[in-house]
């Protein structure tokens, strides 16, 4: 398919996700606790997408490859080595704002 309003259902039922390095794609997949292989496209890549993908890889949350090494990655991958991704903490930001505005 070319476009869906939400990938939540597909993500929920997947065992493995192979995706580009978009922040939304990566974070949504990791939040659902699904193993993720991020494929970098050097020609299309936005610098800041690359930063996030690299960091997630360094932290052991995703596997990482480019189009030419994808098959090799799929053959040699060890998904159990991937670490779970802790959730973000928006409540810290919320209380920070409350303090800044003198509402706490």
């Amino acid at each position: 398919f070319r476009f869906k309003d939400s990938l939540a259902e597909d993500l929920q039922s997947a065992d493995l996700v192979i995706s580009h390095a978009g922040a939304g794609s990566c974070l949504e997949t990791l939040e659902k606790g699904k193993p993720l292989i991020v494929v970098i496209n050097d020609k299309l890549m936005d610098n800041h997408q690359l930063e996030l993908a690299k960091q997630l890889h360094r932290d052991g949350h995703v596997l990482y490859c480019d189009c030419s090494t994808l098959v090799e990655t799929l053959q040699s991958m060890d998904l159990s080595a991937l670490k779970p991704f802790p959730p973000g903490q928006p409540e810290k930001f919320a209380s920070f704002l409350d303090r800044v505005l003198g509402l706490q």
Binding site: E51, L52, G88, Q89, K92, V100
Partner: protein
């Protein structure tokens, strides 16, 4: 209860940097009277170039003692090692500059690190 105001974009995706100076200046000229009219207590923004004119307008109104606005800038979660251009500019003009990765906190010591927001 809320109202929506529209402002022109500072820069379209992939717009050339030189023409962006012109469009940003136009946005500033547009945002200044709007910010003056609204006199916000708080500006909360997360990064696009389009937020820069509003923040600069508010900063200017603060300098002129017309209205003291608290400017809170949250840098994108995509920014792990380097700041966006908006971030580099607003690091100096915001009251609170929030980053979501510890590396940036080290590089930009005046920033606030609260962990990942998302």
């Amino acid at each position: 209860q809320f109202s929506l105001d529209r402002i022109p974009r500072s820069r379209e995706v992939r717009q050339s940097w030189i023409s962006s100076v012109a469009t940003t200046l136009y946005s500033i000229v547009y945002s200044l009277p709007l910010t003056y009219k609204r006199k916000p207590d708080l500006i909360l923004c997360n990064g696009p170039g389009t937020c820069v004119p509003v923040c600069l307008s508010a900063f200017l109104l603060g300098l002129l003692r017309i209205k003291r606005t608290i400017i809170v800038y949250v840098e994108s979660i995509c920014r792990v090692e380097t700041l966006s251009l908006s971030g580099k500019i607003l690091y100096y003009f915001s009251d609170y500059f929030i980053v979501q990765w510890p590396d940036l906190k080290k590089k930009y010591p005046k920033s606030v690190y609260l962990g990942r927001i998302v």
